[in-house]
Amino acid sequence: MTNLSRRNLLTGAASLGLGASIIGTASAATKLKAAFVYVGPVGDFGYSYQHDQGRLEMQKALGDKVETSFLESVPEAGSEQTFAQLARSGHDLIFGTSFGYMDPMVKVSKQYPKVKFEHATGYKRTPNLSTYSAKFHEGRYVIGQIAGKMTKNNTIGYIAAFPIPEVVSGINAFMLGAQSVNPGIKLKIIWANVWFDPGKEADAAKVLLSQGCDIICQHTDSAAPLQVVEKAGKHGFGQSSDMARFAPKAILTSIVDHWGGYYIKRTQAVLDGTWKSTDTWGGMDLDMVRMAPFTNMPDNVKAMAVATSAAIKADKLNPFHGPIVKQDGTIAAKAGDVVADKDILSMNWYVKGIDDKLPS
């Protein structure tokens, strides 16, 4: 038996693609060369797709001054070699968009101190490695309010991927939003323990519907749950990108990741020579989180959603404003206070009113 493994083959394929891109860009020596590394295919219409939309927006905005390229479906395990090759082949700015690229990027950034690196969703920085992420929970507060208004039997289903802080803070923000308009709301949570398995996500949606949920919210990547609620004549929300095409009658809105503005800003900083290693955690204020059009809801609910989004964008409303009581009865934030960013980024508790035990 040969030692043929998926990882070897994929790494091989990634290096081949890399070879091609180096040849393709060799002629343009004066332009800034920016490379993007994605963990999934750009055609996933989800997380990696949205990053690539950001790349295209940056390319369009900066035009001749920059030349961009990307590598898709790069497995996290073999990524160190990929980043090193990109750095060696004359790229000035390299974006890595998956959490698992963190340690490889830290290592490679030290080996190539002149190259600028940007890592999405990580927390380790070096003098030439920045980190950035988005406050997706702000969008979840808005959809929580919508769900709280739209539900007829006060029971909402929530399909969650993994009990990591991003997902947990999303559930809490959703619940706080829902409670702000409907104190009696009940949340049924299913942990799918996958990011992407359309069949299992659809099954989870069917199960939640069978238990009386009339609105389904998802923090997993496929459009399958939306298709299930569309067929059942109920309502749901899209994830990462505007998923209206999958469920035109069922969709209320989508939380859209928007990276273009950040990519323009950071690339411009390299061009201007003002780039510094920083940590950016932006939400609606920096236009990193957007809401897709509000549809299939009465005008007053829509007006409320628009107003809430505007208030968050203008920094007048923080989804984690006090008073917030944890599930165990302790105080997370007093009235007038907010939960600190670092506590949101490491959130491992539920707010009061959620009848579920957090898997640990």
Binding site: M1, L4, I189, A202, V207, L209, S210, A223, A224, F246
Partner: protein, 307 residues
């Protein structure tokens, strides 16, 4: 809890079992002829993407399903060429087929991501579908469910009672003797592999046409591997494939139900439940079995005629 609730649960369990039944029954036939094809996942993905494309352009679920079957068979033919024609190691060829299928399906389907079509209609059988309690559950499925049950019944009959089925089992157990008796070992094995490919392709088409009606790369999410395990679980007996698939699907759906009901068990443990149940059932079946398993004696061994 109303009977409507239980019917909904049962319908969900059946729907999640169908892709496993379809893929496993095809693989069972291939393995009974001695061919261990680990490429089920790859064939399924090709069936899924080609089925979706076929249905998208033709507007017909049936044509889509046939496209899926054809794609699965084409992949299986490639595997047959390697393993039967060139006597390549079956494990290596099967793994390569899976990796190839994952890549090729992504490429073929690149322009079809994000498109959608309506799911396959549920057939309404007059009288039967209207039976109280079981009517909707047993006779309200889409066409794939009936095909799956029909295939299992057909395979069970074929292997047990037909002359060709006897030949196929002989080839799987002792290809040298079968060859000495004048049986076309390569030809029989190729047909069995093609049948396996057709079933895997149909299973993939079920995913994109009925279960979650859209295409996205890698959407089978490991179901091909579960189908492979089910064949072993079933001890290569056709009806046990149905049992195993329902058990696995049932455990999957019930753990989701338990979570939504707020039963306070760790969700990771509940997620592992279907696998635990399947392994336990496998152990129990082996403990009480006093006659030998039906494992084909020549499973995975290439056969090259001397002459």
């Amino acid at each position: 809890m109303s009977s409507v609730f239980f019917q909904a649960v049962a319908a969900t369990i059946i729907a999640s079992s169908i892709p496993l039944i379809l893929a496993a029954i095809g693989e069972l036939v291939a393995e009974r002829s001695g061919m261990l094809n680990l490429g089920v996942e790859g064939m399924m993905l090709m069936g899924a993407v080609c089925g979706f494309i076929g249905a998208y352009f033709s507007g017909s679920t049936l044509i889509g399903a046939l496209c899926g079957v054809a794609a699965g068979m084409a992949m299986a033919a490639l595997y047959g060429l390697l393993t039967i024609g060139f006597a390549v190691n079956q494990v290596a060829a099967g793994l390569a087929l899976t990796i190839f299928g994952q890549g090729l399906s992504g490429l073929v389907g690149a322009h079809f991501v994000g498109l959608k079509r309506d799911g396959a209609p549920h057939l309404h059988l007059p009288w039967l579908s209207d039976l109280p309690y079981i009517g909707h559950m047993l006779f309200g499925e889409d066409g794939f469910a009936y095909v799956a049950v029909g295939l299992v019944a057909g395979v069970a009959w074929f292997l047990r009672y037909s002359r060709a089925g006897l030949d196929l089992r002989a080839v799987g157990d002792n290809p040298a003797s079968a060859h000495a008796l004048g049986m076309p070992v390569g030809g029989i094995r190729l047909k069995a592999v093609l049948f396996g490919g057709a079933c895997a392709g149909l299973s993939g088409a079920y995913l994109t046409l009925a279960y979650t009606p859209f295409w996205s790369p890698g959407l089978s999410a490991g179901r091909g591997w579960i189908a492979l395990a089910l064949v072993v679980f079933a001890s290569w007996k056709p009806w046990r494939v149905v049992l195993g698939a329902l058990l696995f699907g049932g455990a999957t759906i019930l753990q989701l139900q338990a979570q939504a009901l707020g039963i306070r068990l760790p969700s990771q443990m509940l997620s592992a439940l279907p696998y635990v149940v399947t392994i336990l059932a496998l152990i129990l079946l082996n403990l009480r079995r006093n006659r030998g398993s039906l494992t084909p004696a020549a499973l995975g061994l290439p056969f090259v005629a001397d002459t």
